[in-house]
């Protein structure tokens, strides 16, 4: 179904058009929400909300832009609103109760090599969102800035921070007292 037909069909509330739009976009959006929210039930809930909102607002879609991108943006905003509402609830990974800060601060940990997916779950939500959008979803800084409604400089500095946080979780720690961590040399 051509995009114009999809839009017109969704505006009419045609179920086949709505289903076609969903089929064309759902895998990418579900993957994104799963990474951002970390829990399947939350991703499912937010995904439902996102599509309902998209169908409700289809009249506002501007011809000439990408319908898939438009739905994607709604999903990202729904996820970010969900994250903000989650507020002071403790953030914990599915398998571990340690927060990122606690893991970094604990000097008695042995090797903390975990795979990337586990490591992402230990990165704070905002930084995790930036990493996912840039390296898994493939958005450039300008696209991320528009999507997240932040200046490009904020995106760049946030990604810097996010990369370091992720690396701190991924790389093994010192195993015994007296071992020094590797510091880059700073020539004078």
């Amino acid at each position: 179904m051509q995009e114009r037909d999809l839009v017109e069909g969704c505006r009419r509330g045609d179920r086949a058009a709505q289903r076609a739009l969903y089929d064309a976009t759902s895998e990418r959006i579900y993957r994104l929400l799963l990474r951002m929210l970390r829990h399947e039930s939350d991703a499912a809930d937010v995904m439902q909300d996102a599509y309902i909102r998209a169908f409700e607002r289809i009249a506002q879609f501007q011809e000439g832009s990408s319908l898939a991108t438009w739905v994607y943006r709604i999903a990202v905003n729904e996820a970010l609103q969900f994250i903000r509402r989650r507020g002071r609830r403790n953030e914990s990974s599915i398998d571990s109760s340690d927060t990122h800060a606690e893991r970094l601060a604990d000097p008695t940990d042995d090797v903390l090599r975990v795979d990337l997916k586990d490591a992402l779950e230990r990165v704070p939500e905002w930084e995790r969102t930036l990493l996912i959008l840039r390296y898994e979803q493939g958005l450039n800084y300008a696209e991320m800035a528009e999507l997240l409604e932040k200046p490009a400089g904020t995106i760049a500095s946030g990604l810097n921070r996010a990369r370091h946080m992720l690396r701190d979780v991924l790389e093994p720690r010192s195993l015994s007292a007296g071992e020094e961590t590797d510091h880059p040399e700073h020539p004078t």
Binding site: R89, N140, N160, R163, P184
Partner: protein
């Protein structure tokens, strides 16, 4: 160009986001700095690790579309032929009852603000009932109250709104959102929600130990206490009802303009009465309801 600056730019360089002249300057530094080259290699390896993640197949649960469809179907207008006995709008009560997982739990349905228009001819507008399904909240409140409230707010399209904006926009309703509720619950956040076609409002308060209290407001049906529901006896105030779900109590006080709902785990009757009175200007905290 010192190493600290170069290393701060390496990520953007790897991402292809630097202007050509800046990228060239960094390349020049990298040619003579092993430490920065190591840092570059580390970042390249880090970001390359996302490739398998991006290629990973993720199955979308079929239940998601089923849920979307169910919500699309529930939003379709319901056509009702005929008129009420008075010739004016009739009111349709919908009763939901389903056993809840937690002991002593009850289902509650509250009719919201607008009445229901009736089809008088094929050209008339369709009827649509406005209801608030508190099962969405109560079914999960015992497991995680914050999550249950979030789910409820999300279902009813909550949007964050300041108290000042809420009080300005809530014309025709009568409620209060103080800075603090009795029991040292401090205001945290407030929302505008959409109950059918009518507006509603919600807010979260929290004590220093993290214990939350939630309040919800919406217009009552027919300017009187109505609705087919099951509830427990509540002697907090005349016109009040309560639903108990485990340790949580959802208490309603309804006056002609507003239904005020309070969700709390407090077992102190006096404290609950005080909290309800704090959000319900029309409530007389000294008067108690007769047994229901």
């Amino acid at each position: 160009m010192d190493c600290l600056f170069v290393q701060s730019q390496l990520g953007a360089m790897i991402d292809g986001e630097l202007p050509a002249d800046q990228a060239a300057a960094l390349e020049s530094h990298l040619q003579s700095c092993e430490a920065c080259r190591r840092e570059q290699a580390s970042l390249v390896a880090l970001t390359a690790g996302f490739a398998p993640l991006a290629a990973e197949a993720v199955g979308v649960p079929t239940s998601i579309w089923a849920g979307i469809e169910a919500r699309l179907d529930s939003d379709r207008p319901v056509e009702v032929a005929g008129a009420g006995a008075s010739g004016g709008p009739s009111l349709i009560y919908r009763f939901f009852h389903r056993p809840l997982a937690i002991a002593a739990s009850l289902a509650l349905l509250i009719g919201a603000a607008t009445s229901i228009g009736i089809l008088l001819s094929s050209g008339s507008r369709a009827a649509q009932a406005d209801t608030i399904d508190y099962r969405i909240l109560l079914d999960h409140v015992g497991t995680d109250a914050d999550a249950a409230v979030e789910r409820f707010l999300r279902h009813y399209k909550a949007e964050r709104m300041t108290r000042a904006d809420i009080l300005r926009s809530a014309t025709g309703m009568s409620f209060a959102l103080p800075d603090q509720l009795p029991g040292d619950y401090l205001f945290e956040e407030s929302y505008r929600v959409t109950f059918g076609r009518g507006p509603g409002y919600a807010a979260r308060y929290r004590r220093a130990d993290g214990e939350p209290v939630f309040v919800f407001f919406h217009a009552p049906m027919c300017k009187r206490q109505t609705g087919v529901h099951c509830d427990s006896k509540c002697a907090l105030a005349r016109g009040s009802h309560a639903v108990t779900v485990g340790a949580w109590r959802l208490i309603h006080f309804t006056d002609p303009q507003t239904c005020h709902c309070l969700l709390s785990r407090s077992t102190d009757q006096q404290a609950l009465r005080s909290m309800l009175a704090a959000i319900s200007p029309e409530m007389d905290p000294a008067a108690t309801a007769t047994a229901q």
